[in-house]
Subunit: 325 residues, 2 copies
């Protein structure tokens, strides 16, 4: 049995908090955040001691029509600079590049010319070969890189072992365990994280965790995997993210003992900006329809549709999911 | 390190689910549930495979004015019988008796004349001597008994050891670990549960867990302590309970693998009755104000007041809590 790293009072300098509010939260409002919102969130994150802020996706403009999405679906260099200038803070800037949905060969400047520090490559497990190519491309450009293997609750153990083997031979800096469907229990999440940590041992690579809150376990799974050595922790303000949302940043800021983290500024941001989003009708967070898809280990798309129609016939919806298992 | 009991696929016949909706949820609406609500919940619980249903408190009518509370603050024999008749189901009926706030010597019939099966004695750790006397009284009357030691996150280890020693010498059937302030992390909750389980070893007594959701950990802590051998699990429908509420029953029904448990009927109940409560303005559940009191390991009363005033100035409230630490 792996021993926990540190205890509840420890300060672990290897821990890095990544705020994914604009990226994962953008899936709730079509990435249509005001510049003021993003700028204030940036300032808040800097004051809170957050280590990385993810601004969104850099999606292919050939595949996606720019007029149909907010700008953070594309994260153009000039749009990020309009918020952060040259980013004079200690906080690093990340963007996400989806395998198969970005033009990575043409759309990224060398790091020396960009305000972006890290590119996170998101893929399903069968896309690892393409992810590897992208990682090496971004590494050659000078970026820190992560590989976020999504929907890992649907992958089998052999696939995961092979994927980790392949990634450990690349230049990737961080390998992420991603509970896309929010279907992992703490026992699963900690066992999987131990597999990732063991694979990366002696490679210098770090392991990250990205939670979803379908079973109300996003925070629990995050601190559980952390206790076994996961060090990159994704979170979003008030858990804003697709469907049931993510691990709430405020819970991590309250939990972590490192004095560099500060909860107060985030509360001010929540009062002023997050309550407004809710009032505007942006919806996310734990509810029964997401619990169902979490238990059934499947994509939340039907639950998102149920939510968007403001349906409350939970029992009928649950029955329909069981009929289409 | 204690080994987990069973795995995520196991059926553990020692597990007992206790629905505390009317009792802990009653703290949100002054126990003013309609008879229809309570009757339908009773029927739903029977169909769902719930093992125990707690109807409320049996509070002292000398101390509390009956006209100021709903009837489930007092749980008179005839009021319970109006709902369950002679309770022809396999589900057992529980009521709670608070140390210092009930007339236990006069207010309980012998079990042979009562439809109640179990009396749960709730106390703070310094009240254990009185709790012991009550337990023996109820045992002599023929009831199953529990002792629910509240606010254990504020007790020190010596006190807990002494309390467990005393209780293990009584006739009590179940000793409950109660996270009244919702301030335990899974690591704390599992360590404490191991202490309780070790103390009760070879006594035939069972250990229970009662969670609060201040840190969004009620379900996580419940299944974590269960995995180490806790067998009596308190939950409420949609987590309805004081402040941040409890472990949601629907999550436990979805999680547990015993075929006797069934989620579907509870969904029908939620649609028809719980949504109505919310619409009537009854408020409970995780929110920032409860997170603060959870982190600070204190009673939620100020957070409940904050909620009742519909305040949203989280940062000011947080500051005021820190100033009165």
């Amino acid at each position: 049995m792996t021993v926990r790293k540190g205890n509840l009072m420890s300060v672990r300098d290897d821990i890095k908090l990544l705020d994914a509010t604009i990226r994962d939260g953008g899936l709730c409002n079509n990435f249509e955040f005001s510049d003021e919102f993003v700028k204030e969130l940036y300032k808040t994150n800097v004051k809170s001691g957050i280590d990385y802020m993810e601004f969104g996706y850099r999606a292919s403009k050939a595949m996606f029509d720019e007029s149909e999405f907010g700008k953070w679906k594309f994260c153009k260099e000039e749009d990020i600079r309009a918020i952060v200038g040259d980013n004079p803070s200690d906080m690093k800037i990340a963007v996400m590049a989806d395998v198969g949905r970005c033009d990575y060969k043409t759309d990224f400047l060398p790091k020396s010319e960009s305000v972006i520090d890290m590119v996170r490559v998101a893929c399903y497990i069968h896309q690892i070969p393409t992810a590897v190519e992208m990682i090496e491309h971004f590494h050659a450009l000078g970026y820190e890189t992560t590989c976020n293997i999504m929907a890992v609750s649907q992958a089998n153990t052999d696939q995961i072992t092979q994927a980790l083997d392949m990634l450990c031979s690349t230049s990737v800096d961080v390998i992420y365990l991603v509970d896309s469907y929010g279907s992992l229990y703490p026992e699963n999440a900690s066992e999987l994280s131990k597999t990732y940590i063991a694979a990366a041992e002696n490679t210098g690579k770090k392991i990250g965790f990205h939670a979803h809150n379908n079973l109300n376990l996003a925070f629990a799974n995050t601190i559980e995997t952390m206790s076994y050595g996961v060090s990159f922790l994704d979170a979003t303000v008030q858990g804003m993210g697709r469907g049931a949302g993510n691990c709430p940043m405020e819970l991590l800021l309250g939990f972590l003992k490192n004095p560099k983290y500060n909860l107060y500024h985030l509360l001010k941001f929540i009062e002023k900006y997050m309550l407004m989003l809710r009032e505007e009708g942006v919806v996310w967070g734990y509810d029964l329809q997401y619990m169902f898809t979490g238990f059934l280990n499947r994509h939340p798309r039907e639950a998102i549709d149920f939510t968007s129609k403001d349906r409350k016939d939970y029992s009928e919806f649950y029955k329909s999911l069981l009929e289409n298992y």
